[in-house]
């Protein structure tokens, strides 16, 4: 085990023990066990000027064993913390959220009734301890996304350390981002920027056309709404290697939200925003103005699309002149376009024309 990992496990254990000690102290001081949490509602989300991401505000709520609901939560939390300390951290094991739900089957009245309940408990522990679930060895369900490009890194795995070059040592699928990005150490690179791509089709197009080599780019596949580890990876690449990040998605309201979760953080995981959001990330396209400019083949906006666009107009994360103009334009033309729409101009159009032009415009190349 690397020294860094040992250090992180120590921090996690201390934080988790602190929660249990707090309950014990409360018993000793004849206080009904309770725990104070930030209120996890939309109303308690605010923009942090320093980190430029959305985080929880000052409003808190108390879970107390005075009510059945509160007592139940504290009991379940005690069981989960015990598992995390004794199984995960002391025995160097890990489980997925789904597994946690099944493990609780044996906990009698402390067992979870449904998985969202145990998922929420892990989020609670993240908020209380100010540590990410990766510190507790909680693995996500889904695969991390993939990364392709001229980047050499060292990953600490269960079976020892591996040194991997993310273009020369991997197949066309790319390097799989591990669930715990903290186990990765960047060794060397000759990249100028990172391009995060929403769809598999476009990701493959850029690899096939050698876009990474032509422009010294690292290609990251977002696979739709990006997983935590993918967002964390983007942030680390941006901050530690000082590489600009651009996000390339479809031209529809749902894709803009994918960009927003990369750049500003998601409301559901606001407690993790400072850890996972990359405020410096820029949106490269597909822009509504591209639909007009390149006369891309399009689909009509559905009622849901229109509703989503209107809701984005009032979303503080999109409160900029750029987004207001683009969204309004999209509402006016009533159309949306996929990344693949560029293929209508020829298979090389996106790598030869669109991206180089946009990147130049944005001052990245």
């Amino acid at each position: 085990m690397s020294e860094q990992k040992q250090q992180r496990d120590k921090v996690a254990k201390k934080a988790l023990l602190g929660i249990i000690e707090q309950f014990y102290d409360q018993f000793e001081h004849q206080k009904v066990p309770n725990i104070v949490m930030p209120t996890r509602t939309k109303a308690n989300i605010e923009y942090n000027n320093d980190s430029e991401v959305w985080v929880y505000g000052d409003s808190t709520s108390v879970r107390s064993a005075k009510t059945v609901k509160g007592a139940n939560q504290i009991l379940k939390m005690s069981y989960v913390v015990e598992l995390l300390i004794k199984e995960h951290l002391e025995n160097n094991r890990g489980s997925t959220l789904r597994e946690l739900y099944y493990i609780s089957e044996n906990w009698d009245i402390a067992k979870f009734n449904e998985q969202p309940e145990s998922d929420r408990m892990i989020e609670d522990l993240e908020i209380i301890s100010a540590l990410q679930r990766e510190y507790f060895h909680m693995r996500p369900e889904e695969d991390g996304a993939t990364l392709f490009g001229s980047l050499k890194l060292k990953e600490t795995t269960k079976r020892g350390e591996r040194i991997i070059h993310c273009r020369d040592d991997v197949g066309e699928g790319g390097y799989q981002i591990p669930f715990n990005v903290e186990n990765v150490e960047f060794l060397e690179h000759d990249a100028k920027f990172i391009i995060a791509i929403e769809t598999g089709g476009m990701h493959a197009r850029l690899i096939e056309n050698g876009f990474d080599e032509d422009h010294n780019a690292i290609l990251v596949h977002l696979k739709g709404q990006p997983a935590r580890s993918t967002r964390r990876m983007l942030k680390r690449l941006n901050e530690e290697l000082d590489l600009p990040v651009v996000v390339f998605t479809d031209g529809d309201p749902w894709s803009y939200r994918i960009f927003a979760s990369v750049a500003y953080g998601a409301i559901k995981s606001a407690h993790m925003s400072e850890f996972m959001a990359t405020p410096a990330a820029k949106f490269i396209g597909v822009q509504p103005s591209d639909i007009v400019e390149y006369d891309l083949s399009t689909d009509k906006l559905t009622d849901q699309d229109i509703k989503a666009l209107h809701s984005e107009l009032s979303d503080p994360r999109f409160d900029s002149e750029y987004w207001k103009t683009q969204i309004q334009l999209q509402l006016d033309i009533g159309k949306k376009a996929e990344q693949q729409a560029f293929a209508g101009k020829g298979l090389d159009f996106v790598t030869q024309r669109y991206l180089p032009e946009r990147l130049t415009e944005m001052g990245i190349i």
Binding site: L17, I20, F23, F27, A65, T67, L75, S78, E82, A110
Partner: protein, 623 residues
């Protein structure tokens, strides 16, 4: 010279029959829309059957059958096991408007004007051109008569199209078959099904059977085998009688002298009261009522108001009774709680009336919906014009929040409840001829409010008991199951001894916690007794600490009584919610073993369930 115009006009002026009038104004009688026309016809037929059965002392067994007759028409059959109708009366009862037995009697009955079923016959012939068929039989050994009838609208007289004796496999009863332009609807308040359901609730002695057009049969079974006491007929009560009515009575009476006229024409006027009325009105008790003038009649009316006359007798009313409303609601709804009330009789404008009410709560009733209101007048469900009804207005006047029901917008309350109100009277003041809504008569509304407040209070008591129980259960779950496990788990994780959860139990329960601690002090031991009130009510208690050791430097000072070898030290304590008190004393010359084995403390004057850390005994504690 031309004729005067009045003579010309006079040629066109003639009397119109009541049948002709209703031919043109059928909406007055409730035959406006297609669904409502069917409902009105069913209602009139069933009301007649119920009234007839009750008068004859027969347990009603009534069948309503509805068939699709093609086009916009339906066929309706209503059959009862009632006393039957004598042959001669059949045509008049079914085919002559304003013919009936109840109009002139002052007593509670469903129908009054004698319009109902003949109006249905009229509507049937107007909309389909068909005659109405009637079979009636009055006894097992009498023949069953069959009639086909229509109404001659210009004369309001029955026309008999066919008359014969038929075979009928019933021992007794009446069957009427009508065809009319109407429609059968389901799934709404104003439907035949809901009408029969409501009727079944307040007529627990009746069996009602509905055969729907698709052949589906629904039976509302009777809950009791007792026929309600038939209402008695009474004389008019002087209070509220109108001048014109009095003049008519004076002119057509058979009595020759005023005092006996008063005595025998009104209820509650005896010999003495009749004399007193004459005296106060300065009228000769011997005078002939036929000779009295308008001014004299006015005087009599004035004196009726001045002289004390008892309220009208109430045996003319036939209440459903508290227990039968209860049974009716229980039979038709699946609920957690029912309260009913039957109020004493009261008077409006000289007419006796009484109000009965009930609330059914919980069970399968919708939680968010408006409360379902069932209105009844003389046991007849009122289905239309709920918003314009005095009963509804009385319900809206009540502040239901006081009785644990929501009342959005201050109108009809919301929650899983049914409210039932029955007004029984010799004269129900309806707002219109179609008898859908009771007028806003202040006396009736006041009685409705009092009745509902009464059942509302019972509901509130039930609900607060429920709430208290569930809170208690919840706390018990925390204390018995959750807290001990939390304590065990956290101590297991930390590998520390399991903490004492008693003080926290007291906090959660809101109880009195008594704790005694001893600690070494000089040549003996210091004792501290903590008493904390975690509840939200005050405790007035006596604390007993009974042992054999002498107590020194006690603060506060106890009252000590010697009990043989032991002494009983008592402190009288008053602890308000959240208050805490500490008693301290010193025990010289005791060993550690002795100090740690002091007998348990006793709290006198508090419930056992309310005390933690000491034994509780009931007892009297003066303040």
């Amino acid at each position: 010279m031309a004729q005067p115009i009045a003579e010309e006009l006079a040629k066109k002026q003639r009397a119109i029959s009541i049948a002709e009038f209703f031919e043109k104004n059928r909406q007055i009688l409730g035959f406006d829309s297609a669904p409502r026309s069917l409902l009105t016809a069913v209602k009139e037929g069933v009301d007649n059957s119920l009234d007839a059965c009750e008068e004859a002392g027969i347990l009603p067994d009534i069948m309503v059958s509805i068939e699709d007759a093609g086009g916009e028409n339906v066929g309706l059959v209503i059959e009862d096991n009632g006393p039957g109708i004598v042959k001669e009366q059949i045509p008049k009862i079914f085919a002559k408007l304003l013919y009936g037995s109840r109009f002139h009697a002052i007593k509670q009955s469903r129908g009054q004007q004698g319009i109902g079923i003949s109006a249905a016959v009229l509507y049937s012939q107007l909309t389909t051109g068909r005659a109405t068929r009637i079979i009636s039989k009055i006894a097992r050994d009498k023949p069953a008569y069959y009639y086909e009838l229509i109404i001659n609208t210009s004369t309001n007289e029955p026309e008999i199209l066919e008359e014969k004796i038929v075979d009928w496999d019933r021992s007794r009863g009446t069957r009427v078959e009508l065809e009319m332009k109407a429609s059968y609807v389901k799934g709404r308040r104003q439907s035949v099904l809901e009408y029969l359901k409501s009727t079944a609730i307040v007529n627990t002695h009746a069996r009602l059977t509905l055969v729907e057009p698709d052949g589906n049969t629904i039976v509302f079974e009777r809950a009791v085998d007792i026929i309600p006491e038939p209402a008695q007929e009474i004389l008019p009560h002087p209070e509220g009688i109108e001048l014109g009515t009095l003049i008519k009575m004076l002119r057509y009476t058979d009595r020759q002298k005023l005092a006996p006229f008063l005595r025998y024409s009104f209820s509650r006027i005896g010999l003495q009261t009749a004399e007193e009325i004459c005296k106060v009105a300065h009228l000769d008790p011997e005078s002939d009522p036929h000779n009295l003038q308008l001014a004299d009649a006015k005087k009599i009316i004035d004196v009726f108001k001045k002289v004390k006359i008892s309220a009208p007798p109430t045996d003319c009313l036939s209440p459903i009774t508290e227990s039968l409303i209860y049974k009716g609601l229980e039979k038709e709804y699946s609920v957690d709680f029912i309260a009913t009330v039957s109020r004493a009789a009261s008077v409006h404008s000289g007419h006796p009336f009484l109000v009965e009410a009930g609330i059914a709560y919980g069970g399968s009733l919708g939680k968010e919906d408006r409360v379902n209101i069932l209105r009844f007048a003389n046991r007849v469900p009122l289905l239309y014009q709920q918003g314009g009804c005095g009963i509804t207005h009385a319900i809206e006047n009540i502040r239901w929040k006081n009785y644990s029901l929501n009342q959005p917008g201050g109108s009809i309350p919301a929650g899983p409840a049914v409210i039932i109100v029955h007004v029984a009277s010799t004269h129900i003041p309806f707002t219109s001829e179609s008898k859908d809504a009771v007028a806003d008569v202040p006396e009736i509304m006041a009685e409705v409010e009092l009745a509902l407040k009464d059942v509302g209070r019972k509901l509130k008591i039930f609900l607060s008991k429920q709430q208290h129980l569930s809170r208690r259960r919840e706390k018990e779950e925390i204390i018995k199951k959750l807290l001990p496990r939390i304590a065990a788990k956290v101590s297991q994780v930390l590998d520390k001894p399991t903490p004492d959860i008693t003080p926290i139990v007291a906090k959660v329960m809101g109880n009195l916690l008594v704790q005694r601690r001893v600690s070494k002090n000089g040549d003996g031991y210091q004792v501290e007794i903590d008493i904390r009130n975690y509840g939200d009510a005050a405790f007035a208690i006596k604390l007993h600490d009974t042992h054999q050791y002498p107590v020194r430097d006690a603060h506060p000072e106890p009252k000590t009584i010697s009990m043989g070898r032991d002494s009983d030290h008592t402190w009288k304590l008053n602890l308000k919610a959240g208050e805490r008190e500490t008693i301290r004393y010193h025990l010289p010359f005791v060993s550690e073993e002795e100090a740690n084995a002091l007998p348990g403390l006793i709290v006198e004057g508090a419930d056992e369930a309310m005390v933690n850390g000491a034994k509780a005994v009931r007892g009297y504690v003066d303040e």
